[in-house]
Symmetry: C2
Subunit: 414 residues, 2 copies
């Protein structure tokens, strides 16, 4: 992996592209030993590409395919291939059309993006104006004989479409695996990585003997712990079959700490469960200061379920707006009263309440990290209390997910 | 820069350390041409270090200093230096003390962190158990004669303390600059990068002739546009003087689009302005779904100013809880009524209201991106309406900051 861009070296942009590509390569069972960032400098880009080709069978070069004079990846690769750049008429037309469809004039610069090294193949995917390029370097006798450079743009959604659509399949073809490789991620909440490893130890040993499918853990902080199943088979149907079977087995072992799969999030899952049951939701927050409602509202379509939220950050609001009895407000009773009030005031079927101490200071003599969660659902009101480690922001985030996870468990029990 | 860790290559962790170090080096006027990620493999780590030393005067090696068997950076560097690892008694004691002070037993493994290559110097800063190491490689006759490897842990806050406290000063000493280099960042909101460049063109030309101080732009999305002043002088006093003078000049040119400096955020600035004026704040949100209140609440000490927020995500709540007159709710009038209601219902001095269309669908025949902002402050109620580009999440974020920025301008006018 060679990521091109001076802004990457200066730290103006964090190179998340390499991380994403690295994960995709790992998922596809392809080894990636080095990832390098290099600035917009022809000699250093070429040096990084040649170094990469000297130690690997293929190099993915990300960035420097834009229309400006800084974008020199095309020129550098042509130089390395020892060929000319020629304008590709089809790509030039495509770029002109894109600008026209957006009702904008095309700066002449943009035609630079239609320049292709002789012998290179433009990728079929072209979501933006920059085409990706498959560049064979040198004939099979040359120093880099039979090796290849994949040039993709630095714009993440353009890069991802090309890597998934062209680079990975081409790499797998070259690596001789005509097998179909696919993966599924189980999203879990409520267990530590070591605990999860212990629970799954037996299953992992079993799978290690066969070697396919494989399991990988990924600790993702507030996103929970991910368990990734990767399977390899002769065709898609069989891969899907293997993934489905393994998912069923793992769900059997892990039980309800699995809250979703792949791109599902805790909030999308909870909103889905509420929608299935035709229930609306209201939230009363204190310690999380609107964070819970904000996360829920960020899910497209949330408005069908989410009635709204009240952030009673100041204690008086707990009394005046939510109608709590005067007294301590960092208690399980207060959390339950908030949940009931959220249901009543916001006219929702289900009410959530959350109160606690995020710090920096203690409150009502309760230590930082104390959190009380209240649930008003199906005519019952109950609470869960917990103590969370970490700083203010971590406490706010983890208590929010814990609240939603507990609601999820309540809904599954309905 | 060599970042060590297989989890970096697999994309399980994004390498933000290199980005941060790259920015610090740029600020210090030191060139960084390559940044490489390498896995926990002795040969490949050594290869990356030797390659780095062959093209640079110094290499910063980040990660692999932990207590586990995977953490082999110490061994690799000792091998490269051609020396033994010896246990440093002082560091061993320090580590034992740290565990004792945390009431935990020390696993014997942790003493590996007290191993230091002969000739290497532990850094004074040691916030965690892992010591940073200044490692001179080879005498001045050797291939890497006079060059140096700085080994720092991958834990961000430990790494940062060591880079700022030891690495940068040592690099500047070695590079012969005994000048003091410091920078200040002006945070701005409301102008595009190109517009800002145009406004400052004259000033930049002037500074380019002198070459000191220098200006740099940094587009940071929802964090706004940053203008960084970097000055060089013989001592701290003169640097501070230069920064202060340049800041004053730039504020004169940019006016009130500058909302803060350095680590200040829009929400911390707004909360500060309210606190200075002894005013409390209430927020009524629709389109942003609690995001505004959540951002404000994330600032430590927010509770002194922020009374709370009401997210009227469902239209009925705008009528029932906020008491808006029945009718269209994506209007400037609705935003003003929400602001007034936030003030009244939440018992605050200042009320904010925000309503709009984040999409995916239109609402009340108004296009996605339409946002109305309401302000109830100092006995007056007024509104600002705008149209924002981008997707759902971007609209939610940018409308939130725009709301806070407009409140800031209201407060400055008081």
């Amino acid at each position: 992996m060679v990521a091109v861009g001076t802004e990457l070296l200066l730290g103006q942009i964090v190179d998340t592209n390499s991380s994403w590509i690295g994960e995709q390569l790992a998922l596809a069972g392809l080894d990636s030993h080095f990832q390098t960032k290099v600035g917009d400098n022809a000699d250093r880009i070429r040096g990084a590409l040649e170094l990469g080709l000297s130690r690997a069978d293929a190099v993915i070069c990300c960035g420097g395919l834009g229309p400006t004079q800084d974008d020199i990846t095309r020129e550098v690769i042509a130089g390395l291939m020892g060929v000319e750049l020629v304008q590709d008429g089809a790509i030039a037309d495509k770029i002109r059309t894109m600008f026209r469809s957006r009702g904008r004039d095309m700066p002449q610069n943009n035609l630079r993006q239609a320049h292709v090294p002789v012998g290179a193949r433009p990728m079929d995917q072209q979501p933006g104006t920059a085409p990706g390029l498959v560049c064979p370097v040198g004939d099979t006798d040359g120093p880099f004989g039979g090796k290849v450079i994949y040039a993709v743009p630095g714009v993440p959604y353009e890069m991802k479409e090309m890597v998934l659509g062209t680079v990975l399949p081409d790499l797998q073809a070259r690596s001789g695996t005509n097998a179909v490789i696919a993966s599924r991620t189980l999203r879990t909440w409520g267990q530590s990585e070591s605990a999860l490893a212990e629970i799954l130890a037996g299953r992992i040993d079993l799978l290690d003997e066969v070697g396919n499918p494989t399991l990988a853990f990924l600790a993702s902080g507030v996103e929970g712990l991910k368990v990734r199943i990767t399977a390899k088979a002769v065709d898609q149907a069989e891969v899907d079959e293997m993934l489905a079977t393994e998912e069923e087995i793992l769900r059997g072992i892990l039980g309800d700490i699995v809250f979703g799969t792949d791109d599902e999030t805790m909030e999308s899952v909870v909103l889905g469960l509420l929608a299935e049951r035709g229930l609306t939701l209201g939230v009363a927050e204190s310690v999380t200061g609107g964070y819970v409602t904000g996360r829920l509202a960020s899910v497209p379509g949330a408005s069908e379920v989410l009635r709204g939220g009240i952030t009673a950050y100041d204690t008086e609001i707990k009394f005046n707006v939510l109608g709590l009895d005067r007294g301590p407000v960092v208690t399980a009773d207060a959390a339950m009263a908030m949940a009931e009030a959220a249901r009543r005031v916001l006219g929702a079927d289900v009410g959530l309440g959350i109160t606690g101490v995020a710090g920096p200071d203690e409150q009502e003599d309760q230590p930082v990290g104390t959190v009380h969660l209240g649930f008003a659902i199906d005519g019952r009101v109950d609470s869960v209390s917990t103590k969370l480690p970490g700083d203010r922001e971590r406490i706010r985030q983890f208590s929010s997910i814990t609240l939603l996870d507990q609601l999820r468990r309540h809904l599954l029990d309905l």
